[in-house]
């Protein structure tokens, strides 16, 4: 009896070590997260602690509001843009970098710099230096006679304009990730393919791509999740305008909470964001659990 007690190590320290993360995430993420779910079914101004239960009324109102559907549509378009443009670009460039081999460290730094800068900084730079009709590149091209206007001012192009800035800031990050994954391609596979005289496309299809497939898949799921919560660049560049043309669920929810003080309804929108992201998150957990849970 005594001996087994001695060998059996106390588990208390491990529980104590769990406390910081569990407490932090519990108080800041989990409890407010559950409150959000509850608040979605109530009428709540966000200031008073009192919430009035109104069942599905918030959702009924949302589903009858065209701005809500406009936001859902824009989030889906956003996901489509990001799943196609940065992913294709990053795949192409990371493969070119692996193939090219010279100057990769510098290219990596150049492509990453926009990603490192704050969304506020990037948005202000683009608003003033590129899109501004007074001082920006577009304004200058207008003066020298080009037929060009800021895409942000036009309902049909605003979303593309905002997405362009966000993609400009994001694609380098994806490239660096794919490049890191490509560098783990076994050397003998590359050499064997080269000996057999594989061309660029064949190299990509049968050597590089299979090796980075799991990374690409994981990143595409993350992009899908982030597309449903995207906020910064849209709010900073257009605030969802003009006339809701760039409204997404997060800006819609934000305006509802902090301009109209309809926290209950805003929580309902948050819940929609959470559910859309949650579906993608299940895939994320599924595909990465093999690594973490075994």
């Amino acid at each position: 009896m005594k001996d087994t007690n001695k060998i059996k190590e106390s588990k208390l320290p491990y529980y104590l070590l769990s406390i910081p993360a569990v407490a932090l995430s519990g108080f800041i993420i989990l409890v407010p997260g559950i409150q959000t779910i509850y608040a979605a079914f109530t009428k709540w101004n966000g200031i008073s602690p009192h919430k009035t239960w109104i069942g599905l009324e918030n959702f009924r109102q949302l589903f009858g509001d065209w701005v809500f559907w406009q936001s859902v549509k824009n989030n889906c378009l956003w996901a489509l843009f990001f799943l196609v443009i940065p992913v294709t670009l990053a795949l192409l460039v990371s493969v070119l970098m692996s193939y090219h081999k010279v100057g990769n460290k510098s290219f990596q730094i150049f492509y990453l710099i926009p990603y490192l800068l704050a969304p506020t900084t990037n948005a202000i730079i683009w608003l003033n230096m590129i899109f501004s009709p007074n001082a920006g590149l577009i304004g200058f091209l207008q003066k020298v006679g080009w037929d060009i206007t800021s895409p942000l001012g036009n309902r049909s192009t605003a979303l593309f304009g905002v997405a362009a800035v966000d993609i400009w800031h994001y694609w380098g990050f994806l490239t660096v990730i794919f490049f890191a994954a490509l560098r783990q391609t076994p050397k003998d596979q590359i050499e064997a393919a080269e000996l057999e005289g594989a061309n660029g496309w064949q190299m990509f299809r049968s050597v590089y791509f299979p090796n980075i497939f799991s990374t690409v898949r994981l990143m595409m799921i993350l992009i899908l999740i982030y597309s449903f919560m995207t906020y910064d660049y849209i709010y900073l560049l257009t605030s969802g305008g003009p006339a809701h043309a760039t409204e997404v669920l997060s800006t819609y929810s934000y305006t509802m909470a902090f301009s109209a003080f309809k926290f209950g309804k805003a929580a309902a929108v948050s819940l929609v964001i959470g559910l859309l992201g949650g579906i993608a998150a299940i895939f994320y957990t599924f595909f990465s659990k093999n690594e973490e849970l075994v």
Binding site: E9, S10, K11, P13, Y14, L17, S18, A21, V22, L24, S25, F27, I28, I29, P32, T36, V93, Y99, H100, V102, G103, F107, Q108, I109, F110, Y111, L112, L116, L117, A118, T121, I124, I125, L127, N128, I130, N134, A135, F140, W168, V176, A180, A181, L218, F228, M229, D232, L236, L249, S250, F263, A266, S270, L271, G274, G277, A280, A281, T285, E292
Partner: protein, 278 residues
């Protein structure tokens, strides 16, 4: 002839693509630097022209009117809090998940995996209400801790992979020699895990420094603004003076680029750590 042989087929087209994309990445920033030395009128006339005279005074002026000193101090407080809280919580939890000594490790792993992708909107509104009641609106430390909590899962899994690298035998040997778990953690585990902690600190530092949605919502009143928010309000008040905005932008960009060049290995490791299993 010789040069052509050295390089592989397609070298030049590949180089052109890579250089053009570098140009696209850096062009807006180059415009900013160029125009930061010019006067407002010069910028209006032609944003692409070289400055006729270098107006270094633009920087001092922006620094003053933008209250950047206060902003950077707030940013340091906020990011410092986020880094300390994030590193402590992620390394201790990462250790628990790596050692699997308690039965809850599976549930905790699952919880933090799901939390990796939780949208800010899922918890921000009730948290705002709670912070208002607790008088924490405008408190940079509280916002720093919140950002750490939001960005906790990825650092936890990064730290976990570091702890898994520690050979079991080393830990066991220390325990047989009579070391307590605290001593093992402090003298055996921490030295091996400290590069991971630096990586985690760089990544949390970067995220919290650049964070916008939480900070702009929770840090109301100008004196609590971080550098990024100060710059945003400078852009609002000086929208008629482009030289102020451009030199302000350089003040925002320059430190970030310097820190990145110093810590680039850590940043890149931290960014790729979640997606690329090394």
């Amino acid at each position: 002839m010789k040069i052509e042989k050295k390089h592989r087929h397609g070298f030049v087209p590949a180089l052109i693509v890579l250089v053009v994309l570098s140009f696209i990445s850096l062009f807006p920033l180059a415009l900013v630097i160029l125009n930061s030395f010019k006067t407002h009128v010069e910028i209006l006339q032609n944003p692409l022209s070289l400055p006729t005279k270098m107006h270094f005074g633009n920087y001092a002026y922006s620094w003053g009117v933008g209250k950047f000193a206060e902003g950077f101090l707030n940013s340091f407080k906020l990011s410092g809090t986020a880094i300390i809280v994030g590193v402590v919580a992620s390394s201790s939890m990462g250790y628990v998940l790596a050692t699997r000594k308690i039965a809850a490790w599976k549930a905790l792993t699952f919880y933090f995996m799901m939390a990796t992708t939780v949208p800010l909107q899922m918890f921000m509104l009730p948290l705002y209400s709670t912070f208002t009641r607790l008088g924490l609106i405008g408190n940079v430390y509280a916002v720093g801790a919140t950002i750490a909590a939001w960005n906790l899962p990825m650092p936890i899994f990064l730290m976990r992979t570091y702890f898994l690298k520690i050979p079991k035998e080393v830990e066991e040997a220390a325990k047989i020699d009579g070391a307590s778990i605290w001593q093992v953690f402090r003298y055996v585990v921490m030295p091996i895990a400290s590069p991971g902690m630096i990586t985690v600190a760089s990544i949390i530092g970067l995220f919290s420094w650049n964070e916008y949605l939480l900070s702009s919502t929770f840090l109301q009143s100008e004196k609590n603004f971080t550098a990024t928010l100060k710059f945003l309000s400078l852009n609002g008040t000086f929208s008629r003076d482009f030289s102020v905005i451009m030199s302000g932008a350089v003040i925002m960009v320059f430190p970030m680029v310097v820190v990145f060049l110093l810590l680039q290995k850590k940043f890149i490791e931290g960014m790729t750590g979640g997606a690329v299993k090394g």
